[in-house]
């Protein structure tokens, strides 16, 4: 049991500790990642934090050539697209995350259903340092 409020803010604090956490409804057992304070299945509100295994498979993706300002600042552009997608976790919930370690100039090599492992991406420095949720192919993981 982790005694922290169920919120996106706390979800991100867990990411900083390299934990992908979800909230489980103690009434009906449904798991939510990111967390929800109110269960969408039974409307219960007694939720508990649960750590996921951080494993899943790719459900949908895109390789973005024209990104928002924050991604352009990271160095992405038409010649260096980045991949982002939806990942179905082993525990069931689907999360949206950056997909690293794939060939974004050859998106046809990226396959839906491919096994992925969580990666906690460090972006920015100093006060701007933040952890972005990412996934990488299992075979290609740097550990």
């Amino acid at each position: 049991m982790v005694d922290r409020p169920i919120s996106d803010y706390q979800f991100e604090r867990f990411l900083e500790k390299e934990k992908l956490m979800g909230a489980r409804c103690t009434a009906c057992g449904t798991l939510f990642v990111p967390p929800r304070a109110i269960c969408t299945q039974c409307h219960g509100s007694a939720m508990e934090w649960v750590e996921t295994k951080g494993e899943g498979k790719l459900a949908a993706f895109t390789c973005i050539a024209i990104g928002p300002p924050a991604m352009i600042e990271e160095g992405y552009n038409r010649n260096n697209p980045y991949c982002t997608g939806a990942v179905e976790l082993a525990e069931g919930p689907r999360v949206v995350a950056r997909i690293e370690g794939v060939d974004t100039l050859r998106p046809e090599t990226i396959k839906i259903g491919m096994p992925l492992k969580v990666a906690f991406l460090r972006r920015g420095t100093g006060e701007d340092l933040r952890i972005v949720l990412g996934f990488t192919p299992v075979d290609d993981c740097c550990g």
Partner: protein
């Protein structure tokens, strides 16, 4: 959602007008809405005294961000000379003015008002492309934004899931783009006035004049496969899969059914109207359909007693080509996984059995987001009243048309069925 809903009082559409959709450097929201309002007034066959308007409902997504101005209800009421008529701004991302239409319907159905102006406006083009993309992304979920998703990116991801499940491909999306570009030049309000073939001809002519390499595209799809002519935006979506940045306004007059004939001998009636909410990529039931569209459609069909087969033509939200495919299935026009085959077979072309987006769609008519929902209903109005000129649907006894509008990444959807009696 299983309850059959009905209006407490019938509601009729008796006037409609819209500005040209385009990117304007010299016109703001007030100017565009005034143009739509004046055309709406002219369209009321037996005349409209503006003093008879009881209230306004105005859809606007985020002029606050795009044009640094908020509070568009009262500002437009003033600019149209309608003070002190109450004016309410309605926001539901790209579905804002379909929601404004719906609020107007309820205001009349309740018996509180008799004559209501509804519509929408968006002034998007004053900032650069990055600013517009950032503004649109405000309607995505915070999780989608943090993962680096852009608006095209979200729908591109949906495309990969749909392709994987049903075996469709980028080539199938091209059929949508070609159709939209064929319809748009028949619509004088559309932002793009050229077919893909005309665009190819112009580019070849320019290359010859310049003396450079002359492209040798064999057909429209060959052109759309050319990465220079049609670059990647968010794979698998390319430039020609995406709607443009647009400014525009649309304006509709609604009245109580029993007074409709005071305004025109040819009113249209609201037969069914549905609205629903849906979740983003991380939580939606499935990535190959829009749960909110299905719920909204169900509500509108139940209310009207009509079925998908009864809808003779429709405007279907196509901010990106893939979305037109999914929505046609969600609305029941085709079975899941079948719409791309129907499009390839020409079933949704202007002369097909189920014409879709005769206006040119958002792709070619343009997508000033807050104006889009009302503008879609205006296309239905023009078709059902035989005012669509060369793009008139060639079906005998045209009587029932519908408009589907999506907001955000599927968070808000509406489906509105209009009928001529």
């Amino acid at each position: 959602m299983n309850k059959k809903r009905k209006l407490g009082r019938g509601v009729a559409m008796v006037g409609a007008g819209m500005s040209k959709f385009d990117m304007f450097t010299d016109r703001d929201s007030k100017d565009l809405f005034a143009e739509a309002f004046l055309q709406m007034g002219d369209s009321v066959d037996k005349g409209l005294d503006p003093n008879d308007i009881d209230a306004l409902y105005i859809g606007n997504f985020t002029n606050d961000f795009f044009a640094h101005q908020s509070h568009w209800g009262a500002i437009l009421s003033d600019s149209l000379g309608l003070i002190p008529k109450p004016a309410t701004r309605v926001e539901g991302a790209c579905a804002s003015s379909a929601l404004a239409f719906r609020e107007g319907v309820f205001a009349i159905a309740s018996g509180f008002y008799d004559v209501v102006l509804v519509g929408g406006v968006e002034d998007m083009s004053k900032g650069n492309t990055e600013t517009v993309a950032e503004g649109l992304a405000l309607a995505a979920s915070p999780y989608e934004r943090k993962a680096g998703f852009t608006f095209p990116g979200i729908f591109a991801a949906i495309a990969t899931a749909y392709f994987e499940k049903y075996g469709a491909s980028r080539e199938d999306l091209m059929n949508i783009t070609i159709k939209s570009h064929d319809n748009a030049p028949l619509n004088p309000k559309a932002q793009y006035q050229v077919t893909i073939r005309e665009m190819m001809g112009a580019k070849i002519k320019r290359a010859k004049e310049k003396g450079g390499a002359v492209p040798d595209w064999s057909d429209e799809k060959d052109f759309l496969r050319d990465p220079i002519a049609n670059p990647t935006i968010a794979w698998p979506l390319h430039l020609f899969d995406c709607c443009p940045i647009s400014d525009g306004a649309a304006c509709i007059l609604l009245v109580g059914e029993e007074i409709a004939k005071h305004f025109t001998d040819e009113p249209l009636y609201v037969a069914g109207i549905g609205q629903a909410s849906g979740r983003g990529l991380n939580a939606a039931d499935d990535l190959t359909y829009f749960e909110a569209t299905r719920s909204a459609a169900k509500e509108a069909y139940q209310m009207s007693g009509l079925t998908p087969a009864d809808i003779q033509f429709a405007e279907v939200h196509d901010c990106f080509s893939i979305v037109e495919l999914l929505h046609m299935e969600d609305l029941g026009f085709f079975e899941p996984g079948e719409s791309y085959k129907a499009v390839a077979d020409g079933l949704t072309r202007l002369d097909g059995p189920k014409p879709i987006n005769t206006s040119g769609g958002l792709k070619c008519k343009g997508h000033p987001v807050g104006a889009t929902g009302a503008a879609q209903l205006i296309e239905v109005w023009e078709q059902l009243r035989n005012k669509a000129g060369n793009r008139g649907v060639p079906i005998e006894g045209l009587r029932i048309g519908a408009a589907h509008n999506l907001g955000g990444t599927g968070g808000t959807c509406t489906f509105t069925i209009l009928e001529r009696r």
